[in-house]
């Protein structure tokens, strides 16, 4: 059994070069970057290097990077920190309906403090239209946050246009680029964003390291008060090994992105065409063209996502699903709901995110197995029986 791990978004192996760069900073060069002695200075130098490596990937100044613990923390810092620090301008925050839960929950927090939140709807492909954003911008809008790419359906959003729109009205614009950075080109200067979130584990780095790009001159209120780390914007002793890993992963991503993205998007397209060609009553979720190169997502009608996930796992294939049963909260993915998908169809959600080293053989293996898994589940599904009966009734 060849095995096929296709849940990169949840977790991916740390690249060997990255691990190698990290290892000395656990026990050998263990110093605290804030210490003035030589051990501390060694760690401080390592942070500086990581900052430069990441700045190179997203095209910003090294001092515009705030290292944090995760993408969720970066999003919380952006939403809460930017809204609070700039509320003199107004207390209205605009986000899209398909933002990551860390963004949406942060807006809930702001709402409790008296902020007004507007959610911009998306179309059936998961696209946020700049026109729709423009419609809800008011003079008291302080912050707009729209993600760079959606992790559940892979759609890449027109962030540059939305950023321009906000810039022209003097509104702060943040983008959650966790699913994007390291996988597609993200140039913060060209995009014109004020703030942007990213996480190392999405591009070959370790868990526990993320960053918020914050454009020089943008005011932010810290979430964690304490020491002077990250220029007083994020207290707490820095996670030096993880940050070093983030930097190393960023440097590799910058170097290899175009080649890797071309290779993965070819595999992705083969996978999508293969699934749609082999199974009836399956829809591709998200944008067919403007999508992450490593991302393929579907809704398979008449079967439930968790059951597919388990059936595939037994065959050595690991994927994700946005179905209600897959989540501990037993809620259907808010992204699929916002895209207007029939809730019953959304239960058949399946999400594949390909690792860098994914091979053609693995895609073939998936295409061999998946239709059988679906067939078995459909055979025991009352909904599929009903569908076949209705089809028979219609066509005689």
């Amino acid at each position: 059994m060849p095995g096929f791990y296709a849940d990169k978004q949840a977790a991916a192996p740390v690249r060997p070069e990255v691990l190698e760069a990290m290892l000395p900073f656990f026990s050998q060069d263990f110093g605290n970057p804030q210490s003035l002695h030589s051990a501390g200075q060694k760690a401080s130098q390592a942070l500086l290097k990581a900052r430069e490596q990441l700045a190179g990937l997203i095209n910003c100044r090294p001092d515009e990077i705030i290292f944090v613990s995760s993408g969720s923390e970066a999003n919380n810092l952006a939403l809460k920190g930017l809204a609070l620090a700039n509320q003199a301008r107004g207390q209205r925050v605009v986000v899209s309906a398909i933002e990551h839960i860390s963004v949406l929950r942060a807006t809930r927090f702001l709402e409790k403090l008296g902020f007004k939140i507007a959610q911009v709807p998306v179309d059936g492909l998961g696209l946020v239209s700049p026109e729709k954003v423009a419609e809800v911008l008011t003079p008291d809008t302080v912050l707009v946050s729209v993600m760079m790419a959606n992790s559940e359906v892979g759609t890449i959003e027109p962030v540059a246009e939305i950023a321009r729109l906000c810039q022209s009205r003097g509104i702060i614009f943040h983008s959650d680029a966790v699913a994007a950075v390291g996988n597609i080109p993200v140039d913060v200067s060209a995009l014109g964003v004020n703030a942007l979130s990213l996480a190392a584990d999405q591009f070959g780095g370790p868990k526990g390291a993320g960053a918020l790009f914050l454009k020089k001159g943008t005011k932010i209120t810290p979430l964690i008060d304490g020491g002077v780390q990250e220029s007083n914007r994020r207290a707490g002793t820095e996670n030096v090994p993880a940050i070093v890993g983030l930097g190393q992963a960023a440097e590799l991503a910058a170097r290899e992105m175009s080649e890797k993205s071309a290779r993965l998007s070819r595999l992705r397209d083969r996978l999508i065409a293969g699934v749609l060609g082999r199974l009836d009553e399956v829809i591709l979720t998200g944008h067919p063209v403007n999508r992450l190169p490593h991302h393929a997502s579907f809704c398979v009608k008449y079967v439930e996502g968790e059951a597919m996930l388990l059936g595939l796992d037994i065959n050595g294939i690991q994927v994700a699903s946005g179905s209600a049963c897959t989540s501990r909260s037993l809620r259907t993915s808010h992204v699929l709901t916002a895209m207007g998908l029939d809730p019953a169809v959304a239960q058949g959600s399946l999400v594949l995110t390909l690792l860098d080293e994914t091979s053609d053989e693995q895609v073939d293996y998936f295409l061999e197995n998946f239709p059988q898994v679906v067939k078995r589940l459909r055979e025991m599904s009352p909904l599929y029986t009903k569908y076949l009966q209705e089809k028979k009734d219609v066509h005689g």
Binding site: Q119, E306, A307, L330, Q347, T385
Partner: protein, 190 residues
């Protein structure tokens, strides 16, 4: 997450299918919530001669249906009506807390099929007596966000799956206590 027994039933479910001329049919759940089960029974001399099921749902839902069908087959109607959710979960070696509602659905679907048979026998309206849920006669139904049980007005606890409930002030739908936003309309819950 699941016990070996759950996985075994999920991989090799017993009694999958339909019974064309079934003596009783019971359907519970709905696809919007992610679980739907239909049980078919054939009764002979007061015993369940045959039990078949079809399930749309997660691994736990499929395993529960399979086990319930196995437990029920050959039993008298009285015995089968005594199969409890707790027994089902126990037989499976336990289910994760957020999957307990699946065990409720399995026993309910079986019981509904038996009630459907009994009501046919006693000449009553099948849809009336076959409905095990007394609140179902209301025109406007509110469902448990967990197990889809039809809830009465001002419920604080689902009578079937024991989930604590909070009602959305905006749309009136029930949500699980502790949720911050309504799963139906997106409004904040207080």
């Amino acid at each position: 997450m699941y016990t070996d027994k759950v996985m075994e039933h999920f991989m090799h479910p017993r009694n999958v299918g339909t019974i064309p001329e079934a003596d009783g049919v019971g359907e519970v759940g709905n696809p919007v919530c992610g679980d739907m089960m239909t049980f078919y029974i054939k009764v002979k001399d007061g015993r369940l001669e045959d039990v078949k099921f079809q399930t749309f749902g997660c691994g736990a839902a499929i395993a529960v249906s399979s086990l319930v069908s196995e437990m029920a087959k050959g039993k008298t109607l009285e015995e089968a009506l005594k199969i409890t959710n707790e027994q089902v979960a126990e037989e499976l070696g336990g289910l994760p807390p957020h999957k307990m509602h699946c065990s409720n659905l399995g026993a309910d679907a079986l019981h509904k099929a038996i009630e459907n048979y009994l009501s046919k026998m006693s000449g009553q309206q099948a849809d009336k007596a076959g409905e095990s849920n007394p609140a179902a006669s209301q025109d406007e139904h509110f469902h448990c966000p967990f197990c889809d049980f039809i809830l009465p007005e001002n419920a604080q606890l689902c009578a079937r799956c024991q989930v604590k409930l909070i009602r959305c002030e905006h749309c009136g739908e029930y949500n699980r206590e502790g949720e911050e936003t309504c799963g139906h309309c997106g409004a904040g819950l207080v």
